[in-house]
C-alpha cells in the first residue's frame, strides 16, 4: 500500500504545483471577461461576463481592427518561417556533411555567435537598414532569417544530419548523385521532422521578438500584434479588461501551434537524439 500512497502523494503535489504555475493564466482567461472593478479579485469567473471586452478590444484603435495587426504579424511570420526552414537546411548540410577548408573554424564561429549579445550589432544593423531605406518595413525583421535562420537552428540540424547514416550518401554517390542531389533527394526528405521543429520555434520566437519589432516598425499601418498591444498599454486610461482580452488572443497562435505540433515536436527531438 505504501507504493500507492507514494503515487497518490506525488500526484497531489504535482497537481498542486501545476495549478499554482498555471493560476495566472487561468485567472487571465476569466479576467478577460471582467469589469474593471472586478479585476482586483483573485476569483476566476466574473459575476457577469463582459463578452463586449473582446468586441471593444478588437476595435480599440479607431483606424484598424486587430484583424489588421494579426494579418501583418502572420505575413511577417510567413517570411520568417520560409526563410529559416529553407536556408537552415542548406547551411546545415554544408556543415554536417561536406568537407571544406576552414570548416572547423567557421563552425566554431557559428557556435560563438550564439553567445554574442545582440546589442553589439543592433546599432550598425539599424544604420545599414536605414541607409537602404528599409526602416519601417518588414525587411529588417524577415531578411535575417534568410541567412541560415539563426545559429541555434543550424546547430540543431547539423546534429540531426550527423545522425543520418553515411551509407545513404555513399549509396547515392555510387548511383551518380552529386552532393546537391544527395542533399535534395536523400538528406532533405529525412530532415522533415527536424524542419518542423525549426518552423515551430521560428514562429514562436519571432512572434515574441518585441525588440526588433519596436525598433524597426513605426507606422501603425504596419504594426504587429505586439506593437498594437503596446499602443493599447500606453493609452492614458487603460481599459484593462479589453487589454487582457486582446493579450490573451495574441498568444493564441503560439499556443495552438504548440499543442497541434506537440507530436511532431516530440518526434523531432526523439529522432535528433537517435544516434546512427
Amino acid at each position: 500500500m505504501n507504493a500507492l500512497r507514494y503515487k497518490l502523494s506525488t500526484h497531489l503535489y504535482l497537481t498542486l504545483f501545476s495549478f499554482l504555475m498555471l493560476y495566472p493564466v487561468i485567472w487571465w482567461a476569466g479576467a478577460s471577461l471582467k469589469k474593471t472593478e472586478e479585476l482586483s479579485l483573485p476569483t476566476i469567473w466574473p459575476s457577469k461576463p463582459m463578452w463586449s471586452n473582446y468586441w471593444d478590444g478588437w476595435h480599440f484603435s479607431s483606424e484598424y481592427t486587430f484583424a489588421h495587426f494579426f494579418g501583418n504579424t502572420l505575413l511577417m511570420e510567413l517570411g520568417n518561417v520560409i526563410g529559416g526552414v529553407a536556408t537552415a537546411a542548406i547551411v546545415a548540410y554544408g556543415f554536417g556533411r561536406l568537407n571544406f577548408k576552414f570548416r572547423g573554424v567557421w563552425f566554431s564561429i557559428l557556435l560563438l555567435t550564439m553567445m554574442l549579445p545582440g546589442q553589439v550589432t543592433v546599432v550598425p544593423q539599424y544604420i545599414l537598414f536605414n541607409k537602404l531605406g528599409f526602416v519601417d518595413s518588414y525587411v529588417p525583421l524577415v531578411l535575417p532569417h534568410f541567412f541560415g535562420g539563426g545559429a541555434f537552428f543550424i546547430f540543431l540540424l547539423v546534429q540531426f544530419i550527423r545522425s543520418i547514416p553515411r551509407d545513404l550518401d555513399e549509396a547515392a554517390t555510387i548511383d551518380g548523385a552529386s552532393v546537391y542531389g544527395i542533399f535534395g533527394r536523400v538528406i532533405l526528405p529525412l530532415l522533415k521532422p527536424a524542419l518542423v521543429t525549426v518552423a515551430i520555434f521560428t514562429f514562436i520566437w519571432s512572434w515574441d521578438d518585441f525588440f526588433a519589432q519596436v525598433l524597426y516598425l513605426s507606422s501603425v499601418d504596419k504594426f504587429t500584434v505586439g506593437l498594437a498591444l503596446r499602443m493599447f498599454i500606453d493609452q492614458f486610461d487603460i481599459q484593462w479588461g479589453q487589454l487582457l482580452a486582446m493579450s490573451l488572443l495574441s498568444i493564441m497562435p503560439s499556443v495552438i501551434i504548440f499543442f497541434l505540433a506537440q507530436k511532431h515536436f516530440v518526434e523531432g527531438i526523439a529522432t535528433t537524439g537517435l544516434k546512427g
Binding site: 506525488t10 503535489y13 504535482l14 504545483f17 501545476s18 504555475m21 498555471l22 495566472p24 493564466v25 487571465w28 479585476l39 482586483s40 479579485l41 536556408t87 547551411v91 554544408g94 556543415f95 561536406l98 571544406f100 577548408k101 564561429i109 553567445m115 546589442q119 553589439v120 550589432t121 546599432v123 550598425p124 544593423q125 544604420i127 534568410f146 541567412f147 541560415g148 543550424i154 543520418i164 547514416p165 551509407d167 545513404l168 549509396a171 555510387i174 548511383d175 552532393v179 529525412l190 514562436i204 515574441d208 518585441f210 525588440f211 519596436v214 525598433l215 505586439g226 498591444l229 503596446r230 498599454i233 487589454l243 493579450s247 490573451l248 495574441s250 503560439s254 499556443v255 506537440q262 544516434k275
Partner: protein, 317 residues
C-alpha cells in the same frame, strides 16, 4: 524505419558511376551550401561588430557623419554617467538573482518530474507552458495588472494579513516582480535538465544501491556530477540571456520607478534610438560585450573544477 527503407531501395539500384569526386569541387560545394549563413555573418554580424567598435569612439547622430572623439564616450560613461552605474547595478542584481533561482527551480522540478507515473506528460506541459508565452508583451501586460496596487495578488496577500503595496510602483519591489516573472519561465531550462537526467545510466544508481548508498548520497555522487555539463550549459546561456533582458522592463515598469528597473538593454536602446546617440550607445554595447565575455570566460575556467565530463567513450560507435 524510413532510413532502412531508403537504404534497401538504394542498394538495389545499379552502381555504375565512379565514386571519387574532385577535391576542389567539394571545397566549393561546401562553401556554396554554407554561403547563406556566411553572407549573413559577414554582413549582419562581423561588419556590424567592427563598425560598432569604430562608432564607440565617435559622436554620431545618424543624421550627420560620425565625428571622431577618441575615448570621450568611455571616459564619460565611466566618470560622469550615474545612469550607467545605476543600470549596470540593476542588471547585475537581476542576473545575480534570476539565474540561480531559475537554475534551482528547474533542477528541483526536473527531479520531481523524472519519474514514470501516468499523466506525467500533462504535468510537464503545464509547467512548461509559462515558458512558451512568458517572454511576450501579452504576459508583460498581465504581470503589470496582477502586481499593480489594485491587482489580485494584493487581495490574496490580504487573506494572510499582509498589507498590499504597489509592487511595480515601489522602487524596492519593482525589480523583484521582474525577477519573479523571469523565474516563472523556468520550463525550458527544466526540459534541458530532464533530457540530461534521461541520459544518466541507470546502472550507476543500481551499483550505488548495491554499495548501500542512500537517496541523498546518490544525488550528490551520481546525479549532480552527471548533470553538471547540462548545468553549465544552462548557466552560461542563462547568464548571457539575462544580461539582455528588455521586454519585461520596457513594458511592465518602463525602467522605473526612479530607474529601479532600468535594465542595461533598455538604457542602451534609449540612448541609441530615443536620443540618437549612436556612438555613445555603441560604447555601451562594447562595455556589455566585455563584461559578458569576461564572465563567460570565468565560467569556462571555473567549469574545470566542477563540471564532470564522462570520458568520451560512447561518442563514436
Amino acid at each position: 524505419m524510413k532510413t532502412e527503407r531508403a537504404i534497401s531501395s538504394m542498394q538495389t539500384e545499379k552502381r555504375t558511376k565512379p565514386k571519387r569526386k574532385l577535391k576542389g569541387s567539394l571545397h566549393l560545394a561546401g562553401y556554396v551550401f554554407i554561403s547563406p549563413w556566411l553572407i549573413g555573418f559577414l554582413l549582419l554580424t562581423l561588419w556590424p561588430i567592427a563598425q560598432s567598435f569604430y562608432l564607440s569612439f565617435t559622436d554620431y547622430s545618424l543624421l550627420e557623419e560620425p565625428v571622431w572623439t577618441g575615448a570621450d564616450n568611455y571616459t564619460k560613461i565611466f566618470t560622469n554617467d550615474t545612469t550607467f552605474t545605476k543600470s549596470l547595478s540593476v542588471t547585475f542584481m537581476f542576473v545575480l538573482f534570476s539565474v540561480p533561482l531559475k537554475l534551482f527551480f528547474s533542477l528541483m522540478v526536473a527531479l520531481a518530474l523524472n519519474k514514470s507515473i501516468r499523466g506525467m506528460n500533462l504535468y510537464r506541459t503545464a509547467i512548461y507552458f509559462p515558458s512558451l508565452i512568458g517572454g511576450s508583451i501579452a504576459v508583460a501586460a498581465l504581470w503589470r495588472n496582477m502586481f499593480g496596487i489594485d491587482g489580485y495578488i494584493n487581495q490574496v496577500l490580504a487573506w494572510f494579513g499582509v498589507e498590499g503595496i504597489g509592487w511595480i510602483s515601489n522602487p524596492d519591489t519593482s525589480l523583484g516582480t521582474l525577477i519573479l516573472l523571469n523565474t516563472w519561465q523556468f520550463g525550458s531550462t527544466m526540459v534541458i535538465f530532464l533530457a540530461g537526467l534521461k541520459q544518466v545510466p541507470q546502472e550507476l544508481y543500481e551499483s550505488a544501491s548495491v554499495d548501500g548508498a542512500g537517496k541523498v548520497r546518490k544525488f550528490i555522487s551520481i546525479t549532480l556530477p552527471m548533470l553538471s555539463p547540462v548545468m553549465f550549459f544552462n548557466l552560461v546561456l542563462g547568464m548571457i540571456g539575462s544580461f539582455q533582458t528588455f521586454t519585461s522592463a520596457f513594458i511592465i515598469t518602463k525602467g522605473g520607478p526612479i530607474n529601479s528597473t532600468y535594465m542595461y538593454a533598455m538604457f542602451l536602446y534609449e540612448k541609441a534610438f530615443k536620443h540618437y546617440q549612436m556612438g555613445y550607445a555603441s560604447a555601451l554595447a562594447w562595455i556589455l560585450l566585455t563584461i559578458v565575455a569576461i564572465l563567460t570566460i570565468i565560467n569556462f575556467m571555473a567549469s574545470k573544477y566542477w563540471v564532470f565530463y564522462e570520458s568520451d567513450g560512447g561518442k563514436t560507435k
